[in-house]
Symmetry: C2
Subunit: 234 residues, 2 copies
Amino acid sequence: MSERVVPEPRRRRRRPTKQGVVLSQELIIDTALRLIEQHGAEALTVRRLGAALGADPSAVYRYFHSTDDLLLAIADELIGLAQADWRATGDWRADLRAIGLRIHSAYLAHPQAAVLAAHRTTGRTHETAAVEAILSVLRTAGFPDQEAVRIYHAFVDQSLGFAALDAAALALPAAAATADLRVWQSSYARLDATTHPHIAATAHLLTADMRSSGYPYALDLLIDAAGARLAALR
Amino acid sequence: MSERVVPEPRRRRRRPTKQGVVLSQELIIDTALRLIEQHGAEALTVRRLGAALGADPSAVYRYFHSTDDLLLAIADELIGLAQADWRATGDWRADLRAIGLRIHSAYLAHPQAAVLAAHRTTGRTHETAAVEAILSVLRTAGFPDQEAVRIYHAFVDQSLGFAALDAAALALPAAAATADLRVWQSSYARLDATTHPHIAATAHLLTADMRSSGYPYALDLLIDAAGARLAALR
DNA sequence: CAGGCTATGTCAACGGCGTTGACGGATGAC
DNA sequence: GTCATCCGTCAACGCCGTTGACATAGCCTG
């Protein structure tokens, strides 16, 4: 992997495309997100991106070294969208919960980007701002530095992990998703209550919750546990 | 997506490959895992798998409908490896912790498979056994059904989410990983303490923990929170 | 206005990918 | 021995990311 920061931001000579479009990093990122949103996760390829832009696919490489670079840029865009207009309320539980839910939903809006970007580090401004905001909430609430950093890590990784998982499920072709659901139900139906008593006893609850994400509940658990540790410190 | 269960398990006529290998589902799965382990995540392609098997790539399609089917089979294999030799101890905290750590490390051993398989449902025996084991631990501990199912979902998704995230990080080419790390450090070094006071105050702690997974800590938080809810019920 | 420089869009090509359909040699049944 | 069938092989299709050579538009200098 070579350097990031590809073509030096100072770009003055812009030649319009054969089809009359003037390219830019911003336009490419927006078009990529639109492509994902409209035509599904797997529609994001350089060739289709070029077609959607009205430009030759290889023109993208004047703005990003590779698709990996493009994805990092998209990732930072998503973080920015998640944090837009957010303000701390002073209630650290509510703040943490709000940040988590925003990250989760921002990533879910663009599943493929989430899956590929969740574990990367962009080092760009939106990401740094988000880190600062989370640490601010925790340290202002009174967590000692060591504990704040641990909780920060657990919180971020949990949020991104759930987002990646849920996004991956969303990114599945509809046929595969319903096939998976049918596999669950038929495998439950076939189970013997004597060999799998606990599944049999809770089958109705298990399948009922299958569609929705477990993230909000897990987030509450994390916040509760953190609150307990904070109380114990006093 | 078409039906699973591809070529009917009763297969009697096996012709050896040009290179003298006798194929089977099991051999293909094992070879695929070996390929991932030895040559990295992106080495698993049908063509390289064929080469590693000593067979024509298209021969794989006699045993699996597609690479997706193959991945589901690999996923169930991983779950089986994670649960091998596990026995409940009667201490639900210890049991839950042990199951979580086993899932996490089994998936980390095969990052690419984890990333692709974590969100899928195989409906095979290993998966069902794992679900039964987890539910058994929770219900035996005294959690009411509704609560047990909720914690089950949070627990499984958290484990798989972290596993997918950590696996994705492991699956990165070494160059990209160190590049990400350098980006972190240099972005911290450049930060102004007046604009990002909380990052500046904890920078030494943040970078120190960067390499290790936050999963064990998050797992403890979840178990603590679950314990608190159990205590509140009594 | 002329000429050149260079940024940037275009083109053609490379090698790799998953997947498919036709082919035919080996295998087991009788 | 004959025959049907399984299953490994081959060749091909249409995608993919990426690259290097080329051409041309826009700006700068004079």
